[in-house]
Amino acid sequence: MKMFRTMAALLILLALLALGGTAGHHMTTTDAFCSSCHAYEKVSWDQGQHPEVGCLDCHTGGFMRDKVQGARKMFLVFTGQRDPHHDRLPSYPEKTQANCKGCHLTETAAVHQPFFLARHEGYMAATGSCMACHESGHVAAVREQRHGRR
């Protein structure tokens, strides 16, 4: 019964997406939409440092990629190949990181926080990844509960 309801919901979403209407577009870019699959990420985001920043602000690879990926993911879930609540999901930190930089390592920051930028140049030279030191998007301890405790 529960299964059936999810499937129905997904079919409707798929239809909306296929139509490509603005309503569908709008609906599929809300945090609530993402959270319908990514509950652990929602909670770990709630407790993170970006309550004001939405999922897609970090997780976007551009409109086309987002839509293609989105459709693919729905297909995977719909056909039971993936369970976003339990499976280990792929992660593309480099892509996300580009968005971090987009917001933080900006011209404005260069002007207002030169030390911040200088230090971070050093940090990045050493580690190459924001996520080495920041769990900014998600609190790792919460997010990892999806995969079992470790």
């Binding site: 050493a126 190459g128 080495a132």
Partner: protein, 474 residues
């Protein structure tokens, strides 16, 4: 020396991990059975910082004839490693020749790659003193490059030659290891049992990890009973030294944390050293891996960050209580095993002095002395007081007690039971603990007369300290 070991840790001083690394400089806090105050591990008669309530009073007796009898302190933070190795009395600072080889630096400095590049396999057996002035106690103590490759975004790497080779012999390559495995393997570079290869069969004084038959006490004991010259770098029975009193060919265990841990319930569950000893901690807006390696029981906050991620069914107080419950039992059996081991040496001593002693039985007795003390040392030298694997620790100590008792029985039998009566006294009366001993004291004939067992040591020629840390005094 024409060697530049480079900027070392200072190169990383701007990273937040370096700030947390500096917390290793706090050597003032103890826990019930662990902690960081470098007191003398046999000293149960002085208060901190010299002694501690949980000490093992017979250590100097058990190691008689081996440098460990001079000096053995509780470990403290990684930032002290180079300081401590250059101050220890185990290394002979009264002579131009150190007695112990340069190989000791293997687990104390981040400059091993440079040293080995420069000297190759000759390095291991070189004079320890030669490098005192080369290595800076802050910049070249254990640090970032022991575990990280700075040219590859600080990826975890293994820089230890002995570990790399031990893994290779098992057909394993750390480059293929998972991130989780690496979070333990970086520690297994140092927190492992080792011995030195002999020049005859291997590379003189090169550290070697004795894992080819397994990591448990009985496995390593078997391994050290019959060395394969090609594979193991020694032949036949390995001996670290011969005990001054009982003339037994002895083995010394050193910090087998990894070996104790490897078949624990935590290891089975995939928990890594770093999970407990390097929890994620907040530093302002950043959340980093703590680089303060110490007891996770030092404070409620530490238990919280180190344990509660997994142990949400227990409170910090319960976790501390349970760990101490295990440690208290291990500690009790550890000290009983220690006393039985002393008794075993004494029985052999008495038997040796018995005219007409049965040499074959005496040899069997020595074999059991060696075995009993090895099993004891596997737990004693391990630094968690059993916390890493209490069930194995207790089983190992029971075996130790049994082997030492058998040694006594064999020694008595070797005298046709003549010494049964003289052995039948409390250990404190039979052999009191040796409370003070050092290289300096061994230059004093009066000191060697102060305890019957000390009489078995040779008098050392009078001499003054030549080296103190990286200072040449004369």
């Amino acid at each position: 020396e024409d060697l530049d070991p480079g900027e070392g840790n200072a190169a990383f001083r701007h990273l937040p991990q370096y700030q947390s690394y500096l917390e290793n400089r706090d050597d003032t806090r103890m826990t019930e059975f662990g902690g960081s105050v470098p007191h003398r591990k046999h000293d149960d008669f002085n208060p901190l910082p010299k002694g501690y309530k949980h000490a093992q009073p017979y250590l100097k007796n058990l190691w008689l004839g081996y440098p460990f009898m001079y000096h053995y302190d509780r470990a403290r933070g990684h930032t002290f490693a180079l300081r401590d190795v250059t101050h220890t009395d185990r290394v002979n600072r009264y002579d131009e020749h150190a007695g112990l080889p340069a190989t000791c630096y293997n687990c104390k400095t981040n400059a091993m790659p440079q040293l080995l590049t420069r000297y190759g396999d000759d390095f291991w057996a070189m004079n320890f003193h030669r490098f005192r002035t080369v290595l800076d106690p802050d910049r070249h103590t254990i640090g970032c490059t022991n575990c990280h490759d700075p040219s590859d975004h600080m990826r975890l790497v293994i820089t230890s030659v002995p570990l790399t080779e031990a893994l290779e012999r098992q057909g394993r390559d750390w480059r293929q290891a998972s991130r989780d495995e690496m979070r333990t393997l970086v520690c297994a570079q140092c927190h492992v049992e080792y011995y030195f290869e002999t020049g005859e069969h291997g590379v003189a004084a090169k550290p070697h990890l004795p894992w080819d038959e397994g990591m448990n006490p009985e496995d390593i004991y078997r391994f050290k009973s019959a060395g394969d010259p090609d594979r193991d770098g020694f032949s036949g029975q390995f001996r670290d030294w011969v005990h001054a009193v009982s003339k037994t060919p002895m083995l010394k265990a050193q910090h087998p944390e990894y070996e104790m841990f490897h078949d624990s319930v935590h290891a089975q569950a995939g928990v890594s050293c770093a999970d407990c000893h390097m929890p994620r901690v907040r530093v302002g807006p950043a959340t980093i891996t703590s680089h303060h390696w110490t007891s996770p029981l030092k404070s409620e906050a530490m238990i919280r960050s180190a344990c509660l991620g997994c142990h949400d069914q227990l409170t910090p107080a319960q976790l501390r209580e349970r760990t101490e419950y295990n440690q208290a039992r291990v500690w009790r059996q550890l000290n009983i095993a220690q006393e039985k081991s002393v008794r075993a040496h004494e029985a052999v001593r008495q038997a040796m002095e018995w005219p007409g002693v049965d040499q074959a039985l005496l040899a069997q007795a020595r074999e059991k002395v060696r075995k009993g003390q090895w099993f004891w040392d596997y737990v004693s030298a391990e630094n968690s007081a059993g916390a890493h694997n209490p069930v194995k620790a207790l089983d190992t100590l029971a075996s130790s007690q049994q082997y030492s008792d058998e040694a006594v029985q064999l020694a008595i039998r070797a005298t046709g039971h003549a010494i049964a009566e003289s052995m039948d006294r409390p250990i404190g009366e039979l052999v009191p603990p040796i409370r003070e001993h050092s290289r300096k004291l061994q230059q004093d004939p009066a000191h060697l007369e102060s305890h019957p067992w000390l009489g078995y040591l040779p008098l050392l020629p009078e001499a003054e300290l030549i080296w103190d840390g990286n200072q040449r005094l004369r």
